[in-house]
Every structure is written in structure tokens, then in C-alpha cells.
Symmetry: D2
Subunit: 363 residues, 4 copies
């Protein structure tokens, strides 16, 4: 069940029709999931900012590092040029090279790209070694490429799927989650969509209710850092607001506030990253624009960032909850321990009870 099925609706703004990153028009999402034998539980998730030629029609973008214990690829060029020119692929920590190879090969091979000699592949990751035999580096460029090629609009599959197949959050099965918010017309009318790959720990709070404590499973519970709180989270933010790269960076920073509201402890070992981009045609870096010395571009007034901030905070919080609530109990392999392991789905019945006790959830 998604968070709203339990009556959990964080914040004051309304979601879009899909309550997903794909509510931002043009955004495509694809998953490839690899479950092999008892030990391989991994995959990749591709987010395409628009269905056109991404390399030619680059989108303004920004990366924000919450905690940089991660292997994100592409960061410095995004920061320098303020743009993304490829699909964004999320995967596991040790398959980042294969994801980058997939992106590069896919880009080189697209029609019209015969002269392309430089590609800034954007790859994010979290470490699924808690359920996946990560050292086998099971994903190939060919497999990951399927995530790119099957990316589509519409509802986003959530939970233990794609890059979320083997992740763990708050001690429960985590994975992929999505959500969105739509601003009222007076505030710009724009949509903000979020997709997360959750693999981190803390003291779970569901719309303010102390679910982690009530379930007796949280960071520092036994005053030992047992690693449950480590891991990472990748947050991808899309919007149709015509934001500059500078304002996209500001928006991305706000996504971390949504993460904080779920009870993330932001531990040392967590790689917490946000990638944000705008799909607005009026800010796209097209060949026509780039070929001129000076071109015209749209920009959102700084003060309109405020409601967008509220939107991204809420959507991020809900996307994390969706990633948890949609994930199924998963049998896999504990790479560090070297043995089989199961991570349970969060028990939604108990969550419902706890929510009720704290005046939250379905009315």
C-alpha cells in the first residue's frame, strides 16, 4: 500500500494525479530488476528528464550532497555547467561503472550522435550489500541499458524493484518510492516530482508519528551502531518550473529537509544525494540556443522558490514512506556477514495501529 492508502498525507499541498515523479510531464522512469538464485537482489532504475534527445537538448540541473559517503558519478560537470545531458541511472555501489558504460554506449549510439566524443554520465547508487551479493557485480551494461530503454511515463513501480531490489531502510525493506506536489496557480501552478532509492537508517517517523520507536526498531536502540542506520539515499527531483541551475540547487537542498522529517539520522556512512532538474522547455539548453553568443532564457523569481520548497519537502517525505510501505519482504544475501538473510517489509497493520494512536492515518 502507498502512504495515502493508510491515510498518511504529509504536508499541506496536493499531489499530482500519479503522486509520482512522472507527474512532471515528459519524465520517464524505467527499472531493471535482477533476482538470481538466492544471492543476487539488485537492479537499476533510470530516470529520463524528457523523451527527446537528452544529449542535444540538455536540461538545467543541480546536485546537492547531504553526506558524501557515496560514489555518485557526474557531479563536477553538473555543477560547472549546470546541466544534465544523459539519463540518470541509480544502481548498486559496485556497479556504478557498468551503469556509466550503459549510459555512454546508449548515448553514443543514438541517431545523430555520430560525432559525440564526450558524455557526462550521471549515476547514483546506494549499497545493497545487506541483501545482495554485491561483490559479484552482477549487473552488466547491457542489462542496465534495459532500464533506460524501457523507461516510460505513467505510474512508477515502487518498493523492492530496480535499484531498490536489495535496499534496506530503517531496518525494514526499503526501495524505490515516488511522490509529487502541485502548486496552486497563484503560486505558479508547477509540479514537483520526487523519486527516491531508500537505503538508510534512523528513527522512523511517519507523518510525525514515532513509528520506529513504537516498533522497537531504530538507530542506537541498543546503544550500538549496528550499521542499520548506515546506507544511503538517492533523491531525484523533477519540476516543470523553469528554474535556473542555481535555483535547482536550492530546491535540491530542500529535499534533504523532507528526508529529515522521516527520521533519517544522516549517519557517517550514508551517501545522501539529491539530483534536481527542470523539464521546462524555456530553460532547456538546445543547440539553437547554444549556438548563439547570447540567448534568452526563462528564470523563476527567487521568491517563488518558497512554495516550491514546501512542495519538495513534502514530496520527498512521502516518497520515502512509499518506498517503505510498498516494499515486500525479501530473502537475499548479507555480503558482509557472508550468509543468507531476510529483511521484512514494514508491518503495515502495526503501522496503522501506531498511526491511530498518534492521531494520524486514515480518518
Amino acid at each position: 500500500a502507498r502512504a495515502r492508502d493508510l491515510g498518511v498525507a504529509p504536508g499541506i499541498l496536493q499531489p499530482g494525479p500519479l503522486n509520482a515523479i512522472t507527474d512532471v510531464e515528459g519524465v520517464l522512469v524505467g527499472h531493471v530488476t535482477l533476482r538470481k538464485g538466492r544471492d543476487i537482489r539488485t537492479g537499476a532504475t533510470a530516470i529520463l528528464p524528457h523523451p527527446g534527445d537528452l544529449f542535444e537538448d540538455k536540461v538545467p540541473a543541480a546536485v546537492v550532497v547531504g553526506n558524501g559517503f557515496g560514489k555518485l558519478m557526474g557531479a563536477t560537470q553538473i555543477r560547472e555547467l549546470g546541466e544534465i545531458e544523459t539519463p540518470i541511472v541509480l544502481t548498486n555501489t559496485l556497479n556504478v561503472p557498468e551503469a556509466a558504460a550503459a549510459i555512454i554506449e546508449w548515448t553514443l549510439g543514438r541517431p545523430g550522435h555520430e560525432g559525440v566524443v564526450s558524455v557526462n554520465a550521471v549515476v547514483g547508487e546506494t549499497n545493497d550489500s545487506g541483501l545482495n551479493d554485491i561483490r559479484r557485480r552482477a549487473l552488466t551494461p547491457k542489462l542496465i541499458r534495459q532500464a533506460i530503454e524501457t523507461a516510460k511515463p505513467g505510474p512508477v513501480e515502487e518498493g523492492a524493484v530496480g535499484a531498490g531490489a536489495g535496499t534496506i531502510a530503517f531496518g525494514w525493506k526499503g526501495g524505490i518510492g515516488a511522490s509529487s506536489r502541485v502548486l496552486p496557480d497563484a503560486l505558479g501552478g508547477w509540479t514537483v516530482g520526487v523519486l527516491v532509492q531508500s537505503n538508510f537508517g534512523g528513527v522512523l517517523t511517519v507523518d510525525g508519528a514515532p513509528v520506529g520507536e513504537a516498533l522497537g526498531r531504530h538507530f542506537l536502540k541498543d546503544y550500538v551502531d549496528d550499521g542499520d542506520a548506515d546506507g544511503s539515499v538517492m533523491i531525484v527531483v523533477a519540476t516543470d518550473a523553469p528554474l535556473s541551475d542555481r535555483n535547482l540547487e536550492r530546491l535540491a537542498r530542500r529535499a534533504l529537509a523532507g528526508l529529515a522529517r522521516t527520521g533519517a539520522s544522516m549517519t557517517n556512512g550514508s551517501g545522501d544525494y539529491v539530483i534536481a532538474f527542470s523539464t521546462a522547455e524555456s530553460v532547456r539548453r538546445t543547440p539553437a540556443r547554444r549556438s548563439q553568443a547570447v540567448y534568452g532564457v526563462a528564470e523563476v523569481s527567487n521568491q517563488y522558490l518558497s512554495p516550491l520548497s514546501q512542495a519538495v519537502i513534502e514530496a520527498t517525505e512521502e516518497a520515502v514512506l512509499n518506498s517503505l510501505f510498498m516494499a515486500e519482504t525479501t530473502q537475499g544475501y548479507d555480503s558482509a556477514g557472508g550468509r543468507a538473510r531476510a529483511i521484512e517489509a514494514i508491518p503495515l497493520d502495526e503501522v496503522r495501529e501506531i498511526l491511530a494512536r498518534y492521531g494520524r492515518g486514515e480518518e
Copy 2:
């Protein structure tokens, strides 16, 4: 009343005896409050990392910018050298120069400082123009210096005092708040203390309970950005953990997660800053150490940052709540509107009821 008087105790860790930044041994806090006529409601708050010679015995430190719509002084040198060499003074936006002058003059005049020719004054601010005739720039270096000279250990005065005399948070009277957390010995046994100057907006959440919505006062309530959400927050974090400047920066970043949990919307116009320092003697940059080509210094292992993260998140959340709950209704002057104005204290009786409704507060 402080948050704990209402039974509000965010998180899973215990506070220190004072539940204030001054639980970190050696830290001194001083306020000077200026209330003059009907229009001046402002002041300054000084935080001294230790009672010794701050300029000679510098402390490792870091600054983190949540949103940089603010006039913080001293940031680039703290970042370059990783240290603070003066008191930290908080005040109103337009009196930053006078606060810097106070710090410089106080530093130049201390015994043994006859040869000092360079001082990196650290000044933070929020904009109290909602209750203070800020354009009159009523504070003088001499007055602000009193905050430095009267700084002392022990309980911290909170609410509408010092740099918090004229601030507004979540539509209610804000001000100065403090809190702390002490880690169990197995996690290092260190203390993390926080002091905030709250002057920002959002959708107030008290330990998870949707107090702002229940009270009908929050950001975007009428789908207009009426500025209530703007303003700023200064967060000062002290710890006796012997952290390097790099790890202090990481700790400072986590304070923003505590801020997020109070419902801050992190709007465009907010200047959200964190200054963090360590009081540990083993990391202090003393003349004896600095005079050597190579000296020995302590460092906390990266993984011990995780429980410290949890501590600073909790203490920041509670310090913000204390700043609200301790503030009194204040009559003053709306500088932008050019007229008298009162900002009410948050109605604690109603807050108590709301908390009860959401399973929170006193048991």
C-alpha cells in the same frame, strides 16, 4: 515553559543537566536586550567557546549555509582555516557592523593582544524588522560588547531576549532557545549543545504533532506568500567531542535536519546558518601547537559521527521549540508596514491540547 515542561522530548537521547548549549563545559552565553520606547525591540547574544584567550587558543570550527539569504560575517576564513578566534555574536541584520566592531575592539583590547592586527569577527543575524524599527540601527558596539562581557556558564535565558528580542517564528513570537544531548559512554560520552535564534516560518510540527495546522497558522495557509515564512535562523552548535573542522562541518549540516523536523519551510528569504565548534582541548589551536612545523592533534573516528548526528538533530529540534515556548507576547514596530504591531506568544494551553490529541506531550 520549556518544551520538556509540556512533556515534549524529541528523540531518543538524553539532554544534559541544563539542557542548553552551556552543558558543553566552558561555553559562555551573554545577552544584551534593547527595548526602547515603542519601536526598538532588539539585542545581541554572545557565545564564547571557552573562557580563556579565544584569539590565542582558537577552536576548530565550521560554518554551514542552509540558505544564504543572510549577512553572516566571518564565513570564508572559518572555512579556509577551520577555526574561530573570537566570540560569536548574534544580532539583527542591520547591526552586523556594530557587532563586528564590538568583537574587534574587545579582541584588540584584551591583555597580551597588543600586537594583534587581524581579527576574524564572527557575526550572525536574523531580521527582527517585524517587531523592531531596524532601520534605526539602535545597537552600538559598546552595548553589544556587554553581551560578550557578561557571558557566563549556567542556564541560558531563552525567548524574547538578546538577539531574540524582536524575532518571529511560525507566526508566533520566537527568540533564543537552547538544548543539549549527552551520548552514552559507549558512544563517546560527549555532549552536544545547541543555541538558536529563531526567526523563520513554515508549518509548525511539535515532536511530530501538526501544531501549526491545528492552530490555523502556517506558511501558505491562504496560498499567499505573506512573508511570515521568511526570516532566518541562526544555529550555534558546541561539542566537547574532539572533532576536526571537517567533521564539525558534517555535524553542522545535521543541525539542519533538526530544523527541518520543526516544520521549517526553508523559504527563499530565509538566512539559515549553522556555526559549529569543538571545545576539546586536544584539538585547540594553541600558540604552542601552531609554533611547531608539525603538531599532534586528536581526531574522532568518522563512524563516531553517527551518534553525534543524532544528538545534534534532536538538540536543534528542541532548541527551536524552547525558543518558541519561552517567548512572551511582544509589542513592537513593523518596519516594513511602518506601524505598531504585536506578536503573540504561542498559546501553550492550546499546544498542550493539540499535543494530547496526537498522543504527544505530558503523560
Copy 3:
């Protein structure tokens, strides 16, 4: 004499008619110099991006920190919003508060600013304690304000004037210097202007010729760090190219390459900063633009940054040389040593000879 009077013309591009920052149309520069008794040798220099209402018609801007041992004020808001809303004032290290007060008061007092309650004053500094009794903090806001109010277009007074009255560079008298470059039309036709306040050390190179070594005066000459290499440099870059704040930051970073070519050693104690802004109307943040949710703005294509880079590198190198070559021998006070001191102007006749020996200088 200016560098070109000695036949020194670094680079391959042409300067503008004034060979100064004021070649960028609209830019105004003002100095106030304070020489009092034997001990006070200091001043302030104001740079106004345009003659209009700076607070209302903000200019896109960026700050880059080469080495952050300095007290620059205003940095975090420039970075967050990408804009400057006041004059830029350069002065001595311990009078930064007075410069900031001058800017704030001047801004508050301008017609139409009756409702202004927040001002991000931009102040840079270098430490003139080698010739100025800096601890007396001799400059007042009133005095510094004169630099703002007398700012004008046209030739820029250079050498031991304004904020350069007491500075030292490469062991010789430093001060204010300016230069510019104009791009050919095919490369955009824009002008880049630079103004520096030089107060740093290293191994002086004049258009490639090893002048510092030939004169026997340079950093580490006697294998002791005698402080001559310390100090700082402030670099202000103006351009009429319609650059975004992101591209202005990139341009500002390149100014450090020009600095490097003069032989700067970029020592620990140096505060090396670059502030860059665009005067182009098409990127100005006017009330008309800011009042809209979305507005149109110009942007220079990334690849056009390349010739602009070359321009700022050359103009910075030449501005530093002008600051040295135009400075006069100055009698003053050594604040650290507590005694009178004279710093000589670089001996231009010897420089001429050295240049000739290295195939440089007048032909």
C-alpha cells in the same frame, strides 16, 4: 608609470581606451585616502556596478575565494542569490565594520528606500598594517561614504591611493591597479575590466621576466618566511557580457590565473578574493523582472566564456603590475613591529633594464 609606459603589455588581447575597470560602461570608482600624522596610511575604494539604483536594480555577481584568510563581507548571500545590491567597498582589515556601516547607511538613505530593511553590504579588505597603524581603526563610516559618493567614471587613480594607501606587494609599495580587455566582435565584442588592491607576496614576474629574482627581493629569498609574502589581494571584475551568476563565478576563478602569472605565492596568510559582476541590462534583476513569477533573461553561451577567460587573465595580470608601477614610496608605521617604516616604490629604471635583458618591455 603604468605598465604599458614601460612597454609591458601582457597577453594577446587589446585593452579598452582607459585600460581600466571603468572601460565597462557604467562602472564608477571612488577613493578616499586617509594620511594622518606619521602613522595613518589607509583608505577605502568604492566600485559601483552602475550609476542607477543598485538596491533595486541588482546585478548578477559571484565571489571566488582563492585563499580565504580574509574578512570579506557579503559572500554567502552573493553565492545564494547570485547578485550584488550595493557598492563594493575595499578597505583595511580592521575597518570592515565601518565600511559595511557606510554602505548600509548610504543604501537606507537613498530616495525610494524608505522601506528597505535588509542590505547585503559587500566589503573586501587587505591588511595594511605594514604601513598603517591599523589598530587605531582610523576610518569612519562617514569618511568611507565619501568613496561611494565621489565614485565616477573615467580614469582610475592608481597606486598608493584609497584602499591601497598602505598596502605592500612583492616587498614593494603596492596599491590600487586597473586594466581592461576588449574582445573582437567575432568573440562577442565585450569588455572585461579589473581593479585590484594588491598586498601580497611571491616571486615577481613582469610579463614573464623574473624581476623579483633580478632585484633580489622575493618570497623565501633567505629561506625564511618573513611575512613579506603574506597579505592579500582583492580583485574586482566587471564585464558588460550578459553572464549569469554561474558564468560570472567561472570568470572570477580565471582572474586567479592572472594573479598567478605575476608570481604570487598564494601563501597561507593571504586573503585572495575575486568579486565579479555583469553590468549588462539584459541580466539585471530589476523590480519589473523580480515581480513576475517567470521572467526572461539573457545568457551567454558557455563556449563564449573561453575568450572572456583569456581577457580576465590578461587584465588581472596587468592590473597588478599597474598597482605596483604606479605606487609611490610611502612612509608609515609598522603595526606589528611598532615603529616607523618606509616601503619603497619598485625602482622602475631597474625594472626597465631587467625587462630589456629578458627581451621584454619597450621596443
Copy 4:
């Protein structure tokens, strides 16, 4: 010939015995060069900070971005944790994934690493598409691994070798270059070593002499941006000074000043990166140290950074010159143009003449 064979010895400090990055004890360098048919001219260069277990005994490190148009991998984790745990591999732009795969596989396979599940591979690149059919992505992880496995102390092979096989600098054949400086004992006695992969443009200056102009080949020569100035440079800095990650970042920033002195134009399309690390045992992050809550670590006093700055500036300048002077004329393939192409070695006889004309070179 190396620069010193022409009498070119930039700066005032002395090089180490090898005048290479390997003068820093323990540093190993390995190359693999791939020349296949007429079109493949590429390779990889590995730098190992020490011969021990890099993953267990991590070295403090920093990355600095001069211009971020590049695909450097590993940046965010180096910045967060201030350390490197793998070899550094340089290669061509489109083979970054294969280099990362090589590093990960090599690290996973080392004895004692059976439990490793997270590896932060550090890969730098420049774009050799001017001489190499880069789109074929000819390098495999297996091949690149040879560079790691054959890395050794001693003289560093320079010029058109390893990652420099196909690069172009200042319009001439570029490649790998190295240099070093040793500080006198009174300044710490430390060694700074540099290795560069040169692939950028500008207006070549050799120890101050305007060689690029004299040869009639430089950026903007015909007032057209013909791309010669684009490209990139990777700079790797090693030192045995026990620097913290903060001071390594400062040192890395200074390397860009050395680059500037060669006449680099720092154009839009250049990816200019510096990676710096310390080999000192006293700052190494060993398991013994990391396992403690608090450990002792060495730190160089800030003021000792000044002579180290001078050292890295000089060594970087000379390393770039060595990369040019040691490179041989290379026949290859122009990927963008789709045809055969030769890039000449810089004509050393002419360079010698020019140097003499400008009072430089052999005495």
C-alpha cells in the same frame, strides 16, 4: 628532452633526485599504452599513494576543480571523508567506467579484502579524441589493471605514454609530465611531487618566455575558437608533509597557479582538476586508528603551507613543460573530424632559440 635539459628551471626551489612525483617516497606510477592500427592512441596511468594496502591504510586527500567540464570519478567521497582508498587512474574520457571497474576489481581481489563491499574508485580523464578514436572505447578493465599492477617507484616515463598517449597541449603533442620540489630543512624539508596529463590550450609561456606567440600557435590566434584551447588537464600532487585534508585542498588549489604560469587559458571546455594526497604515515587512516573513538594524528601548522605552495606551483609548471617537451609527434585519428591526423611534437630547437632570445634557457 626534459625542461631542465633546455636549461628551463622554473622557480626558486630545488627538485628532488628524480624530479618526478616518485620523489615522494612510496609513490608508484604505472602506465599502459594502447596503440592499435592507425586510430587507437590511448592508455591509462595509475598513481598509487603507497605500496601497502591502500584500502585499509587510506591517505588523506583532496580534490580541487579548476574547471569542472570533466568526468572525474570519486570526488564527493574524497571531499566528505578527506581520504583516498584506491589507486588513482587517469585515462580517456569515455573509458572512465572501465578504469573504475579495474580499480574496484583490483581492490576486491586483494588479500584480506574478502569483506569489502564499498570502494570509492578515483578516476581522472582528459579527452584524447584529437588523436584517438575515442568512441571505440578501446580500453578494457583488464588492460587498465596492468597500469595498476606494473606501477613502480623510480623515474616516470613521460610524454606520449599511458593516459597521455593521445593528448594535445597548446596545439602540440602533450602527454604525461612530472616534476618535484624539495623544501630546505628550515621550511620542513618535505618533498612535493606532481604528475600531469596535459591536454589543454592557451598561449604557451615557457619559464616566462612567450614561446606560443613566437611559434605562432596559440589560443585565439585567428580570433576563432578552433578548439585547440579546449581539452583538459589532470594534476596529481603527492607530498610527504603530514597535511590534513583541509590543507591538502589548499595545496591542490595552488597547483592551478602553476598551471596558469604555463599560459593555460582555462577555457570553457577544459576539465581542470587537481588531486592531492599525503603519504605521511602520521596522517594515514589505518585500521588501528579508525577503530578508536579518538586517535592522534599529525598536522602541519598553517603557516608552513606557504613554502609548500611555492613548491607545488613550481613543480606543476615544470611538469606541464616536461609533458610537452618529452612528447613525440604522433599519428592518429581525429574523432570529431573523422579522419587521420598527426600532431607534432613541439620543435625543441626553435624553443631553444626563442628561450635564448628572452634570456631564458641554458646558460
